[in-house]
Subunit: 303 residues, 2 copies
């Protein structure tokens, strides 16, 4: 059997597959989708635009030897939506996607990746509004997610207060276990699902923002230590971490879990638990800038 | 002299350089810039959002052996702004930028690239609202440009009419000459400037949209034959091309020129020339779907 490559399909062939898949999306706010120089979107009056970008690069986030490209489509979608959720009560509007493949890549890499995007465009009712294709000797994917929010329902990193509890929702360490399993040759199981299909925490974030429960919010993308450090540093505070009551599985500081980490005044903890039974405490914000453990993922260090 | 690498600087070191550069940008519409999970932007009421993404990949768009990373920052900015301009009377709002570098990359690649982004953020009054950093064995850059437009002043590709003249503004073939010169070891000159610093045609696009002169519009990114084909195909038409009155220099179909190609009813050609003295004719839209030359850049073909 001869493997069909992207060189044989050509950029135009791939574009025509893309336009077929994404030309009939109907979504509130989508005025003009793929096929022009840019997408055109309409925001509900009174909303602000929330915009973020995140990438997956061969050799760093995945290896072509074991990657399932359809599930990489899911992962790219979800890590971006997770960043929208990390801004509070945000409604996703659309995504824009760039992909770089070598000419020698099997056609299936691209088509599977598109299938993954289609799956999640439906699952999250978030259209693929546009994108870009490039030739690249290593595979890379870049996505921009666009969302809308009422200005008063945006939760930043920099607004935590001393004495606030630090809490989390979502897995701690599961994605790293999944990556380990993939490298060891396994292809299924809940850890692998945690690696490929993290769940954007829109509902939890929306509750925290709408009910005025959280004082600050971040998504847990580079490990818990790093997320807590970022909240503390952004807010000009220190933090104490205690994971004895957190559902840790594997290394909670290894990154890619994509839950939420947030701060909440102690008086509101009961209300948080009532609204989000899965929330767990991970520490406390302090006025004194403590030296936090330097854990967490750093792209350029071989940590 | 020891070359400083990104591994020595670390992701956090580079992020702190980035935040220093981009934390004090003041721009209409920018509510929250770099340093959180996502950027927050405000659109003027009544405007629609125009959003596009374009990339530069090592080995395809540049080689690290000859690339000037500051000028790659300019190029990335401009190829994205060119896509906004190609939608009509669009005002740029902000850009979001992703970069992937190997850990062994000289620190100067990243810092020079940031300098280039700073230059153009100022030149085009368009803030860098956020982004992402990844480790990647090959360098890649991805940018999303966001703009705002009145809905009635958006010009699409699909609205050309049979009998319309096809016209262009901007260079034809200069960027390809520049690439040739760079590969031959030259580092300065107008062709190299055309390669690195294409001029987004905001003013021309705005005139065409505001005065109701053009019926369709595209940016000339993959060569003239390809741009004309795309206008014709999107509009369900054919096209005849005649470059005898166009300012061709080098190969007009090689791509990366980033001028505009647009269609205009013959009765409005005089008004176009009065408003845009640099505009030149390149052909005519026909009702019959002619088979156009299959020229132009295709990422996955070794054309």
């Amino acid at each position: 059997m001869v493997m069909k490559t992207l060189a044989a399909l050509g950029e135009r062939g791939l574009l025509s597959i893309i336009f077929k898949r994404f030309s009939r999306q109907r979504a509130k706010g989508l005025v003009l989708g793929p096929g022009d120089d840019a997408a055109v979107l309409r925001l509900t009056p009174g909303r602000v635009l929330v915009a973020t970008q995140d990438d997956l690069a061969e050799g760093t986030h995945f290896e072509t030897g074991w990657a399932d490209f359809r599930r990489l489509g899911h992962k790219l979608f979800r890590v971006n939506l997770s960043d929208l959720a990390a801004m509070g009560d945000v409604e996703p509007l659309a995504v824009i996607v760039s992909a770089g493949f070598p000419s020698s890549a099997p056609r299936s890499w691209a088509v599977d990746f598109l299938d993954g995007l289609c799956d999640d465009a439906k699952a999250f009712r978030t259209p693929v509004a546009g994108g870009n294709l490039s030739r690249s000797s290593k595979v890379f994917f870049s996505m921009t997610a666009l969302g809308a929010a009422l200005p008063g329902r945006v939760l930043k990193r920099s607004t935590a207060r001393a004495g606030d509890l630090i809490a989390g929702v979502g897995p701690l360490g599961a994605a790293a276990e999944g990556l380990k399993a993939l490298k060891a040759g396994r292809r299924t199981g809940p850890a692998i699902r945690a690696f490929y299909e993290p769940a954007p925490q829109f509902k939890a974030a929306s509750v925290l923002a709408r009910k005025g429960l959280a004082t600050s919010l971040i998504d847990n993308s580079d490990g818990l230590a790093r997320s807590v450090s970022l909240l503390a540093e952004s807010s000009g505070l220190g933090a104490e971490v205690d994971l004895s009551r957190a559902p840790v599985r594997g290394d909670p500081h290894a990154g890619e879990d994509f839950g939420l980490v947030f701060t909440v005044p102690p008086s509101k903890w009961r209300a948080v638990k009532a609204a989000l039974p899965g929330a767990y405490p991970v520490g406390r914000m302090t006025a004194r800038k403590t030296s936090l453990p330097r854990g967490g993922f750093d792209h350029f260090h071989a940590s």
